[in-house]
């Protein structure tokens, strides 16, 4: 048993065991400077005076009750709400301690385990009204939460000058129109919204501390959302899933590191995104495409990002590149791109194979390539097309290739053959077979792939399941 008891054995036995660790027994006048730590300064002064006065301590004082509030709050903040509330019956001292718990979270666990037959609404009111002092995190993400005026009332009950982390997940029914009160929460760092209408009021100056914004099924007003993003300069992570469609999305993000968008956007551009390194763009539909400029515009916009390292696109987003010289490299290149994931790669269309090769050739410093196949019916004789591809420029930086949902059809095999013949520095090619298309766990495919000529003598061909990263 370390620490507390050990120290208290050196001091007066009847002393408050917890107080012993806080006592400024170092003794010099600079003692208060020595007692650092978080929030101990005031408390230690008080306790040391008590000790000096040799006041009689309660002999039955326990290990935890008299610890500084910030320590107790920190522990409470890590507990599920149910356990937080239960501390109120530990002893008289504990009755109101949980009022300053820094987090109030109503989540799936709370709903499934503890709500039982009780109604949610009175409970939320009760707990919010009982709460005192700073609140750092509030989350309302119980299943079956419907839009209602109560939600706005609850937001009004939150201390808007302290909340840093807010999650609101309206799971059922109509979209919830957020109260303008939300936009007074100046200390927000993390905001997660589901099935809400997010429309900052005119004149809103932005959330200056917002670092993480996650929106799913959220209604936005495109023009004002673009302005809003530009007013949140601390934003590091932006995630938009199934939100309103955008004709043109302009992202301003001086601190933005990661962007994920799934939905419909016809054009994207980046204004001042010097550290954006991780981009994932997937489209719920390509029906909007008119003309053949989409893919090249997309690549041009991405090439403006000076720090782009990780990119995930669906292969069909690049299909228009056939109009711009695919499979030859493009006039713009993505020189910083290191990791590329192309998903939904439809090997049976020449255009997709051709554009994939074009894109890979336009990323001269690509190190890791990950392709998730989507193979349906045979459309073109892609195999012949691929056989005709000469590796005119070697893919000299490519180190690893991962092929997932691999069916071993001729087109896929030719694609891999092309990569093996072009990647002079390849270290590893990993195949994850498509379970329903391959009977033998991929052994015969692997064996065939191992026969193909390799530009890199040290390239290893393996089955993905066998290795652990």
């Amino acid at each position: 048993m370390y620490g507390i008891r050990h120290i208290s054995s050196q001091l007066i036995p009847s002393q408050n065991k917890a107080a012993s660790i806080l006592s400024s027994s170092i003794g010099s006048s600079a003692a208060s400077a020595y007692v650092g730590g978080i929030g101990l300064r005031r408390r230690s002064g008080e306790l040391s005076r008590l000790l000096k006065m040799n006041c009689v301590m309660r002999s039955d004082v326990d290990f935890i009750t008299n610890l500084p509030n910030n320590i107790i709050d920190n522990i409470l903040g890590c507990l599920p709400l149910r356990d937080v509330v239960r501390t109120s019956i530990l002893s008289r001292e504990w009755r109101y301690k949980w009022a300053s718990c820094p987090e109030i979270v109503f989540d799936f666990w709370f709903d499934q385990m503890f709500l039982g037959g009780h109604k949610l609404e009175p409970l939320v009111y009760q707990i919010l009204k009982f709460h005192q002092g700073p609140l750092l995190r509030f989350a309302l993400q119980v299943p079956d939460l419907k839009s209602s005026p109560d939600i706005d009332q609850w937001i009004h009950l939150l201390p808007n000058n302290t909340v840093q982390d807010l999650t609101l997940h309206v799971s059922r029914g109509e979209t919830h129109k957020l109260t303008p009160c939300l936009f007074t929460f100046q200390h927000l760092r993390n905001l997660k919204l589901y099935n809400c209408l997010f429309d900052p009021p005119p004149g809103f100056k932005g959330f200056s501390k917002l670092e993480n914004l996650q929106l799913q099924n959220v209604d936005l007003v495109p023009e004002s959302f673009i302005k809003f993003i530009a007013l949140c300069p601390a934003l590091e992570k932006l995630r938009m899933i199934h939100c309103t469609s955008f004709d043109s999305l302009e992202i301003t993000g001086p601190n933005l590191k990661s962007l994920e968008f799934h939905g419909i956007l016809k054009f994207i551009s980046f204004a001042n995104c010097p550290v954006l390194s991780d981009v994932k763009l997937t489209f719920s539909s390509m029906d909007f495409k008119r003309g053949n400029g989409f893919s090249l515009d997309l690549v041009k916009s991405l090439s403006c990002l000076p720090a782009l390292e990780d990119l995930h696109l669906q292969a069909y987003a690049l299909e228009d590149l056939v109009e711009h010289g695919a499979p030859n490299p493009l006039p713009v290149s993505l020189t910083t791109l290191k990791n590329l994931h192309l998903s939904d790669m439809y090997f049976e269309k020449i255009d997709e194979a051709s554009c994939a090769i074009c894109f890979i050739r336009s990323s001269p410093n690509l190190q890791r390539l990950n392709i998730t196949a989507f193979t349906f019916d045979v459309v073109d004789s892609v195999a012949d097309f691929l056989r005709s591809q000469q590796s005119s420029e070697s893919l000299s930086q490519l180190k690893t290739v991962k092929m997932q949902l691999f069916s071993g059809i001729e087109a896929e095999m030719e694609f891999v053959k092309y990569l093996l013949a072009s990647a002079t520095a390849l270290e590893e090619l990993a195949i994850t077979p498509h379970a329903s298309s391959i009977a033998d766990g991929g052994e015969s495919i692997l064996n065939e792939l191992k026969q193909y000529p390799r530009a890199s003598p040290s390239a290893e061909i393996i089955s993905w399941e066998k290795i652990r990263r």
């Binding site: 007692v35 890590c78 509330v85 039982g116």
Partner: protein, 179 residues
């Protein structure tokens, strides 16, 4: 004696010799400056020490064994590979670190981390304590921390009625650990 891992701190050996901390029970432990920067208290103590020109910083509130463990964790934190750990891997790391610890030892460790101003480790200790407390009965918590119940049975019943929902589910499992 705790020493930092050789990988990350090779560069520091010649330029910045390790600091020496002395625990309450006289144990002397070495810690590299770059690792010690995680502790705002050590940095404060260092400023004061530099004025008086002694080599050893007394940390007389903390016993040697706990201090050694804390320095070990602080060393882990400065390793590059640690910063790349995902959320699950970090969780596993701390679960392994605190495996088989008694809850009062975790509390003590957290208080020491708090005293030394190492916020990250303090937060992890609080999280570990919370993990050990949740789903335990109120009686268990009272027993483990030696909290005296000064409510009358009637008062306690009335209090429970204020938040009925919190006392209803019988999912509690006091187990055997942590006492």
């Amino acid at each position: 004696m705790a020493t930092s891992s050789s990988n990350t701190n090779k560069a520091d050996h010649s330029k910045n010799p390790p600091l020496t901390l002395r625990s309450s029970d006289g144990k002397e432990l070495k810690i590299f400056r770059i690792v010690a920067q995680q502790s705002s208290t050590i940095m404060n103590l260092l400023d004061l020490e530099e004025e008086s020109n002694t080599d050893v910083i007394p940390v007389s509130e903390v016993d040697g064994s706990t201090l050694e463990k804390l320095i070990e964790l602080m060393n882990n934190h400065t390793e590059k590979s640690f910063n790349y750990l995902g959320v699950k891997e970090r969780k596993k790391f701390y679960n392994d670190f605190f495996a088989n610890w008694k809850i009062l030892d975790v509390l003590n460790f957290g208080l020491v981390a708090n005293y030394l101003g190492v916020q990250v480790i303090f937060d992890e200790a609080c999280q570990k304590m919370a993990d050990m407390i949740k789903s335990k009965s109120v009686e268990w918590v009272r027993k483990v921390f030696e909290i005296k119940n000064d409510f009358t049975p009637e008062e306690e019943e009335d209090l429970k009625k204020e938040n009925k929902w919190a006392y209803e589910r019988g999912d509690l499992d006091d187990g055997d650990d942590a006492i």
